[in-house]
């Protein structure tokens, strides 16, 4: 492994968060199929891209603007499994929205995770704006917008990159390219091969990285963040990855991709690959893997139980927080 400052402890922590995200994700699908959770959006397959990028940031200080695919990201950024489950089940205590937003609409003020809507690419301009304030206030923060490749067809993606590049803002545009916008393949989304190629049109570096390798992702995001903090402006990063399961619990991916294609992609499961690599490096053992899995199972059980027992929002609060004051 290269000289990137990643100690064995940090890499184990990355691995832990990837496994945790997959376990929480799996549990959410089970809850959905049991009729206990209305809808689920997955990060299954994207764990390396999300966790690797989170570890390269000053977590809780730098701003992230996630999209609905980013369960592993927000877990690595500090959101707890209990908070995730409270959000999934629309509980009053949900720190993302108090049960107002549908699942996977992340937002956590204390962790500097900006609340997001459902219209894709809206968060790209927010990230540029957060960075504009950082530039004016000289607060040293970097902002990161996360988005799928489908959303790069939106005008606001282009507006955000242009605005950020013109004003040399400390922002990173982090694309998780899994090849599909629900059912539409990327070749129907754009006439170029790579999202990263767009960067040249805005005068910023465009970097392609193996999104199934958390270390490589960490390295490119770290470099982009350092660049941003030096006042050298934004970077567009394209993490190539794959979504192993349907877009959501209401989707059926058999309608648009073959089982063979999915099976082939799973040979490069980011968790299995990272696990093998850590074992090879003597950082991880079979025993340690079992220990982690046991710990995570308990955590996920606790989170599920906690959220299911937690209070639902009081209908009397429907009109709260429309304005700060009138």
């Amino acid at each position: 492994m290269s000289d990137n400052g990643l100690t064995p402890e940090i890499m184990l922590d990355m691995y832990y968060h990837m496994v945790l995200a997959r376990a929480v994700d799996d549990r959410m699908w089970i809850l959905n199929r049991q009729g206990r959770a209305p809808v689920v959006y997955t990060s299954n397959g994207h764990e390396a891209a999300q966790v690797g990028s989170a570890f390269a940031l000053n977590r809780g200080e730098d701003w992230i603007c996630p999209y609905y695919r980013d369960l592993a990201l927000v877990l690595a950024y500090g959101m707890t499994p209990r908070e995730i489950m409270l959000h999934l089940l629309g509980r009053a205590e949900d720190p993302n929205s108090g049960g107002r937003q549908m699942p996977a609409h992340w937002g956590h003020a204390k962790l500097h995770i900006l609340t997001g809507g459902s219209v894709v690419a809206t968060q790209d301009v927010h990230a540029a704006g957060l960075a504009l304030a950082s530039k004016v206030l000289k607060d040293g923060r970097v902002s990161v917008a996360y988005f799928g490749e489908g959303s790069t067809s939106q005008g606001e993606f282009h507006e955000a990159l242009n605005f950020a590049a013109v004003h040399k803002l400390p922002v990173i545009f982090f694309n998780e390219n899994n090849g599909y916008a629900i059912s539409v393949p990327s070749r129907k989304q754009m006439a170029v091969q790579d999202v990263a190629a767009r960067a040249a049109g805005y005068g910023m570096p465009g970097v392609i990285v193996d999104g199934n390798d958390p270390v490589k992702v960490y390295e490119v995001v770290k470099e982009a963040a350092d660049r941003a903090r030096r006042g050298e402006g934004p970077t567009l990063i394209e993490a190539k990855t794959y979504r192993f399961v349907p877009h959501s619990s209401d989707d059926d991916d058999r309608a648009y991709r073959s089982r063979e294609e999915v099976a082939e992609a799973k040979k490069r499961d980011p968790i299995a690959m990272f696990e093998a690599r850590l074992k090879e490096a003597g950082i991880l053992t079979d025993e340690k893997v079992k220990e982690i899995q046991k710990e995570i199972k308990d955590i996920v059980n606790d989170a599920t139980d906690y959220a299911e027992k937690a209070a639902l929002p009081d209908p009397a609060t429907l009109g709260d927080h429309v304005y700060g004051s009138l």
Partner: protein
């Protein structure tokens, strides 16, 4: 809070100058305030509202942004969350539509959807209104689109004095405020404006003229038109009260009902087209809460239901509400 003549030093300013001086005063007071938009820096805006501000406050605080409205509003949202008080300008209210998703589904909802953990202190300024040969895309009144949206506040000053007090309140507000400026008022309206800072609370209408026979409820440029009409009517023995709404959201329900109950005859006037305009909401409030005080049907005088204001002078004139049209409609109401 609100200084009156004689208590303070005053200057006679145009509507435009009052806005510029308020921006200057607020920026001197609070270093978190930044201005940006198309041409607002070196050029001082196409109407010169921000003239001289970049020179005084620097390029970091008065920014010529790329020509992209969704990005102007969207980045302002981000900047507001991260500690600034952005006051972006949309060059013409007609150009606000590319940003409508950022305003309606983002800025207006961020406090609500985050359960009060985020909020967006943001003021979007935009010149609106017709009568200046601006045609379909430089003349529109867009306030009703936004007044429909919980989470937004919408204000329109009718005088230089109100322009200052409302803008200071908007900038101080913790939620997104749309501040629309009538472009025909920029240089035509002048008035005394105190030098010192004062606030006019958002949501407070103002009786601009006391009367007893009929009430004209309006806002924006139409306030000065209604006042002209009222002077004419006075000569005919009709006493017209003029209520300036000043705030389209929230509406001052109390003031609306008070004037309706006082005169029993209400004419609502706006330049925006009739159907779905602010007048419909004002009328509904009076019908719901003051029906038995009325001596005549509520009347509305508004822009016609055509897509937007045409360019050529006869067509534009036919679209515009004028003091004469207000006088005639008010007379009809008084005689009912």
């Amino acid at each position: 809070m609100i200084p009156k003549a004689g208590q303070t030093t005053m200057a006679v300013l145009s509507y435009l100058e009052a806005i510029r001086e308020t921006l200057r005063q607020e920026m001197q007071r609070d270093s978190r305030i930044i201005i940006y938009g198309e041409d607002v820096g070196v050029r001082g805006g196409v109407f010169r509202v921000t003239e001289g501000l970049q020179k005084e406050f620097g390029e970091d605080r008065v920014i010529d942004s790329p020509l992209a409205e969704a990005a102007i509003v969207g980045t302002a949202i981000g900047a507001a969350v991260n500690g600034l008080r952005p006051v972006p300008e949309i060059q013409f209210a007609d150009f606000i539509f590319p940003a409508i998703n950022q305003i309606v589904q983002e800025a207006a909802r961020i406090r609500y959807r985050s359960n009060g953990t985020f909020h967006v202190p943001l003021v979007i300024r935009a010149p609106f209104g017709g009568g200046v040969h601006g045609a379909l895309y430089h003349s529109q009144s867009v306030e009703a689109f936004f007044a429909h949206v919980p989470g937004l506040k919408v204000v329109i000053p009718a005088t230089p004095y109100d322009a200052k007090g409302l803008l200071a309140s908007a900038i101080q507000d913790e939620d997104p405020v749309l501040y629309f400026e009538h472009k025909a008022a920029y240089r035509s309206l002048k008035g005394e404006v105190p030098d010192e800072r004062y606030l006019i609370p958002i949501g407070q209408a103002d009786v601009k003229r006391q009367g007893k026979d009929i009430s004209i409820i309006t806002y924006g440029l139409m306030v000065s038109y209604a006042l002209k009409a009222a002077e004419e009517l006075e000569k005919e023995g009709i006493s017209a009260e003029v209520l300036d709404l000043r705030s389209m959201r929230p509406l001052d329900v109390e003031a609306i009902l008070e004037t309706a109950k006082k005169t029993g005859k209400v004419l609502i006037v706006h330049e925006d087209n009739l159907t779905g305009g602010i007048g419909g909401e004002v009328s509904a409030l009076i019908s719901e809460h003051a029906l038995f005080y009325l001596d005549a049907p509520i009347m509305r005088l508004a822009g016609p239901d055509v897509p937007a204001m045409p360019y050529s002078a006869p067509l534009e004139h036919a679209f515009m509400v004028t003091p004469e049209k207000i006088r005639d409609k008010a007379r009809e109401l008084a005689k009912f």
